[in-house]
C-alpha cells in the first residue's frame, strides 16, 4: 500500500515537474510566428461563418499574445510619445490594440487556399530576430512576409511586419507622427477610432 502511494507520489511529482518545465520553456521567435500564422489561417477558414465580430473575438488573443502592441504604440509616434501624458499613452495603446485586431479581422476575412511557408530565421545585431516567410496564394504570386521580433521579458513578440519590402511600422510611424504634429492627439485618436469603426462595417 505504502509502495503504491510512493509510486503515485513520484508519478505526480514527475508530472508536476514536467508540466512546470513545459510552461517555463520559452517559445522561440519562430514558434511565435508559426503559431500566429496558423491561428490566422484557422480564423480565415471559418471567416465567413464567424463574421467580423467573430473574427475579431477569435483573433484578439492570437494578436495580443504574438505582437508587442504596447511597444508598437510607442514606436509609431516616435519622440512624440514622451510629450503625451500617461492617460494619453494608455489611450493610444488601447486604440492601437483595437486597430490591429480590427485590421486583421477585416483583411483576413475568408479562405481560398492560402498558406504560410517558413523561409529562414535571421538574428539582428541588437538582439532581435527576423523570421522570413511567404504567403502562398493560389493563382497569384507568393508574397514575402518578414516578421521582426524582439524579446519582451521572457517571450518573443512581433514588432514589425514587412510585406514585399514595405514596412508596416515605418508606414504607420510616418502617418501617425505627421497627424500628431499637424492636428494633435485628439485628432489622431479620432481618426483611428473612425478606421476601427469602418472596419466593422465594410
Amino acid at each position: 500500500m505504502i509502495l503504491k502511494k510512493l509510486t503515485l507520489s513520484c508519478f505526480y511529482l514527475v508530472f508536476i515537474f514536467a508540466t512546470a518545465n513545459a510552461y517555463s520553456q520559452e517559445e522561440t521567435a519562430k514558434q511565435v510566428v508559426d503559431k500566429f500564422q496558423s491561428e490566422l489561417i484557422s480564423v480565415m477558414k471559418n471567416g465567413k461563418q464567424l463574421g467580423y465580430t467573430g473574427r475579431y473575438n477569435s483573433l484578439r488573443d492570437p494578436v495580443s499574445n504574438s505582437h508587442d502592441l504596447s511597444k508598437i504604440a510607442r514606436i509609431i509616434v516616435g519622440k512624440e510619445w514622451e510629450k503625451l501624458s500617461g492617460e494619453q499613452q494608455k489611450k493610444l495603446e488601447d486604440v492601437i490594440i483595437k486597430l490591429s485586431i480590427a485590421s486583421y479581422a477585416h483583411n483576413f476575412k475568408d479562405y481560398s487556399g492560402e498558406s504560410f511557408s517558413f523561409d529562414s530565421e535571421e538574428e539582428t545585431t541588437r538582439g532581435g530576430v527576423v523570421i522570413h516567410s511567404h504567403l502562398n496564394i493560389p493563382e497569384d504570386k507568393p508574397v514575402k512576409f518578414d516578421y521582426m521580433l524582439k524579446e519582451n521579458g521572457t517571450s518573443w513578440r512581433i514588432i514589425n511586419i514587412i510585406a514585399n519590402g514595405v514596412s508596416d511600422l515605418a508606414l504607420k510611424r510616418s502617418e501617425y507622427t505627421s497627424i500628431l504634429q499637424r492636428d494633435g492627439f485628439d485628432a489622431l485618436i479620432s481618426k483611428i477610432d473612425e478606421k476601427i469603426d469602418n472596419y466593422s462595417k465594410l
Binding site: 519562430k30 516616435g78 535571421e122 518578414d146 519590402g165 514595405v166
Partner: protein
C-alpha cells in the same frame, strides 16, 4: 480575389501609377509636415487634384468598363498590355547587365506573343517564366543616380525626380504608345481597373492617404530597385522611449532620422531610426548581413491559370 488585394498593399501598389487618388480627406486643407518631402505643398495639391479626377472621371469610366466587360476579356486585355511591357523589361534587363534574366524575359515575350495569341494568354508562366518588374527608373538606380525627392504628377500620380526621365523612357519603349488612340484608351482603362484594389486598400487603411501613398510608394520602389535586397526597417531604434533598453545598448543612434543606403549606394531618408547593420534579402540564400539561423525552402509557386483575374 478581393481579399488578396486588400492584404497585399505592396503588390497592389505596382498597379497604382495612373492615379494616386481616392483620398477620404480633403488634402488641400492639410498643412505639410514631413521634412524630407520638400514639395509636399505642391504634392498634396496634385494628390487632391488627381483624387478629384479619379472620383469624377477615371473611376466611373473604369467601373463601367469592369461592369460591362466579361472577366476573361479583362484578363486578356491585362495580359496583352503586360506582354507589350516586356519589351521594355528586356531592354532594362540588358541595361542593368542582367543577361540571364533578359534571356528568360525574351523567351517569355516570344512564347506569349506566339502561343499566347499576341499576349492575350499568359502561357509563359506555366513553363516557369514569371513576369519580372524592370523599368528605366530601376536602371537609373542601378547606375547610381539618386532617387531625388518625391513628386506627385498631374494625372500620373506618385513619382520621384528620377522617376520622370524613367517614365519618359518607359513610355517611349512601349509599343502601345505608337499604336494609336483607341489602344491607348484601353491601356489607360486597364491600368485604372487594375489599380482598383490598391486604391480601395488605401481608402480603407490610411489615416492620411497622402503620407500612406508616399511612404508605401517610396519603400516599394526602393525594394524593386534593389531586387528585394533593400535595407528594411527591421529593427527600430526606440531606445529614446525605453530607458531599460538604452541601458542594454551603449551605442544608441543619436537621431530619429538616418540615411540608409541600398546596394547601389543610393541614399534614402527614412522617418525611422533603423538598425544600420541589418539588411534584408528576398533571396534568403544570399543574406547581405545578419546571421541566418536556418534555411528551409517554402512550397513551390503555384501555377496561374491561362486566364488570370487580376482584380
Amino acid at each position: 480575389m478581393k481579399k488578396t488585394h486588400t492584404i497585399l498593399l505592396a503588390v497592389l501598389l505596382t498597379q497604382s501609377l495612373f492615379l494616386s487618388g481616392c483620398a477620404t480627406t480633403n488634402e488641400s486643407d492639410q498643412k505639410p509636415t514631413a521634412t524630407d518631402d520638400p514639395y509636399e505643398n505642391f504634392n498634396r495639391k496634385m494628390f487632391s487634384f488627381n483624387d478629384k479626377v479619379d472620383d469624377y472621371v477615371a473611376k466611373p469610366i473604369s467601373d463601367t468598363y469592369k461592369k460591362v466587360t466579361p472577366q476573361p476579356v479583362q484578363t486578356g486585355v491585362f495580359n496583352f498590355f503586360n506582354n507589350l511591357k516586356n519589351i521594355n523589361v528586356i531592354i532594362n534587363d540588358a541595361l542593368q547587365a542582367k543577361f540571364s534574366q533578359s534571356a528568360k524575359d525574351s523567351g517569355r515575350l516570344a512564347i506569349n506573343s506566339s502561343l499566347g495569341l499576341l499576349g492575350l494568354f499568359d502561357v509563359a508562366q506555366h513553363v516557369g517564366l514569371e513576369q519580372n518588374e524592370e523599368d528605366f527608373d530601376q536602371t537609373l538606380a542601378v547606375w547610381g543616380i539618386p532617387q531625388g525627392s518625391y513628386l506627385v504628377l498631374p494625372l500620373l500620380g506618385p513619382s520621384t525626380l528620377r522617376g520622370i526621365p524613367g517614365a519618359a523612357f518607359d513610355t517611349a519603349a512601349n509599343p502601345s504608345t505608337y499604336i494609336g488612340m483607341p489602344i491607348q484608351v484601353i491601356s489607360l482603362l486597364n491600368t485604372r481597373a487594375s489599380a482598383e484594389g490598391s486604391l480601395q486598400f488605401i481608402n480603407e487603411a490610411a489615416l492620411d492617404p497622402y503620407v500612406f501613398t508616399r511612404e508605401s510608394y517610396l519603400q516599394w520602389r526602393n525594394n524593386l530597385a534593389a531586387d528585394g535586397k533593400a535595407k528594411a526597417t527591421y529593427d527600430v531604434d526606440d531606445l529614446d522611449t525605453e530607458p531599460a533598453d538604452a541601458q542594454k545598448d551603449p551605442t544608441p543612434s543619436p537621431t530619429p532620422t538616418v540615411v540608409s543606403a541600398n546596394s547601389n549606394n543610393e541614399t534614402h531618408h527614412h522617418s525611422l531610426t533603423l538598425e544600420p547593420e541589418v539588411t534584408s534579402s528576398s533571396n534568403t540564400s544570399q543574406p547581405i548581413s545578419g546571421k541566418i539561423i536556418q534555411h528551409k525552402k517554402g512550397s513551390k509557386k503555384k501555377r496561374k491559370p491561362l486566364l488570370n483575374p487580376k482584380n
